[in-house]
Amino acid sequence: MLLLIPAFPLVGFLLNASFGRRVSKGVAATIACAAMLMSFAVSVAAVARLVGLPADARAIAQTAFNWIESDTLKIDLTLLLDPLSSVMILVVTGIGSLIHVYSTAYMHDEADPEYARYFSYLNLFAAFMLVLVLGANFLVMFVGWEGVGLCSYLLIGFWYQKKSASDAGKKAFIVNRIGDWGFILGVLLVFVRFGTLDFQKVAGAASQLSPEATFGTLSIITLLLFIGATGKSAQIPLFVWLPDAMEGPTPVSALIHAATMVTAGVYMIGRNAVLFGHAPMTLTIVAIVGTATALIAGTIGLVQNDIKKVLAYSTVSQLGYMFLAMGVGAYAAGIFHLYTHAFFKALLFLGSGAVIHALSGEQDMRKMGGLKKDLPITYWTFVVGAIAIAGVPPFAGFFSKDEILFRTFASGHTVLWGVGLLTALLTAAYMFRLVFLTFHGSRSQSENHSNHDNLLHHSNDLNPSNHSHLHDAPLPMAIALIVLAVGSITAGWVGLGGRFEKFLEPSFGPPLSESRAGLQAGLAEGGVETTLMIVSVVVALAGIGIAAYFFLKNRAAADRMAERFSGVHRVLEHKYYLDEIYDAAIVQPIQIVSEDGLWKGVDIGVIDRTVNGVGQAVSGTSEVLRLFHTGSVRAYAASVFLGAVLVLGYYLWR
């Protein structure tokens, strides 16, 4: 039964890829959405069965076939359902289905073959993502890992005629590849160290060891795996692809770059919790990187003007929170935040998609405003999502973010907690800046104005259509928005009373130190937890208030601030010039080495010259040798005779 979960989207992909261009849009959409919904249904059934099992035996495995069987390496294509992967498959199939439904309306302006191509890619992505989270060993997970990277490339560059889109796709794939290099090395080391790639066996073997005090093998393994995670989940230093990935259609951004693919790194760490737990130095690095990423991305998001870029940096920032949680050992909290974040981030992206759709492709927030009365459903669902991400109770984001901050504080990382709190302030600020700029105030531009890229069909997202799209979201989009909004409010409630954490406990192995649990209980009882909760709520509301002052009441004040700190503003706007630094430090040298060094030097200079040289040598030699053919019989006879004399002489000599 487990195999059905990725199989349905895979079949959907095959059908749409083979026949999609010949059928109507409705058929293609139905195939794709039906595949996802059936996968969701099977996932729910599987999880229900899992929950029915006793708590300490909650694992269902299903093997498809024996994949690799060589001397010491035995790998099967096995899918494993345990509490951790059950959360993931519900997120992927549930939110995935909603996004598929949303896309049927959003992509409706595309040509029929393109429409089917879009849905085939989307289904393929879902299939790979499900393989990733259901994989029972590193290799199956890696198949999914690579597959989602591929689909990300395909979908980011969906409008490949546009150079910026295809460039963004390439950038995503290449940067991911750099991370994958680390991941592969980590997997190889796992095999060398443990002799197996199966997750449960590795966890079992690792739990026998004691945590490493220094930077030993486990630390190296986990660090390499984490490098892979920074690539896939857009952390420092490999997050540069995610903002560019906004070139893809907005539902793609919602699904892949908010809810699912970018969470693969977090999931991977959760899956290997035992391994990571035994490498405290790596965990510290993870926490620091996560926090730094969260802060930096938050600051960049504060000054961006493209609505999707703000959301992209917000995603990077929230992912930083998840890694912070993993880094302090609060694996369940990290997964919890992953789960709630999927809801409200997908909601925010889909909402922004509705705005862009209504404005016929406009994405610059400075040209928006006053949409509150034109797009009511969009507005209210968007506000729900914004409140959720800001971390205001009783919305979903509060529970997960607060849990992370509490755990950080409780494990002694006070500095990280402070930075996390600051980032929470920034989160609320930039998110509500977005809300106020987009929906409130008055619009400074007229309808039907799209001044981006009139050269090509797809100006950032849609055709510059001739008629006004300024209506609220059509029904499929509205359904998705409303369902996600409800989820953003209620999703956090499963975490009440520690039920979520207890559910996930079998996946993460026994708690590493009993003392830590005791410490947390002690702090909770001492009212510290409540105090911290109140602090986070105050910070969130403060952020909202700051945004309200600068962007609701007094926009001129915001501009004056920007002028006063123009240097800082410019650095933030250019994303700390990170792309330029990478280009100069890495890309250009590689290009020069490749072009002048390897191509002109080695390939043309050495290899071609050698091969041609051999040809010329043969040719030259034969030019000389052919002069032996004088045509004179006597000369030939003379040479025969000479040969005979020499041979005779040789034999006499011996």
Partner: protein
Amino acid sequence: MPTLNDYLILSAILFAIGTAGVFVRRNLITILLSIEIMLNAVNLSFVAFGRSLGTADGQIIVFFVMTVAAAEAAVGLAIVIGLFRHRESLNPDTFTSLKW
């Protein structure tokens, strides 16, 4: 009494003379004559060896050699006649069409 070595030395000298003739002369017929000299030198050494072994084998080989020499001379002269008809010359250096 002449020894085997004497005959062999004589045969060697005659053979060398024949070989020199093949290269030195520029007349096709003289070249063929030089080849006959060579064959004769070989005949001599065969007979000498046969005599020193006391068998008839040497002479029988000579018999065959002579037959072959006759056949070869006949065919060779026929070719010379054919060549002469083409180029009106008996100089082997005129027949150099198979050049590079």
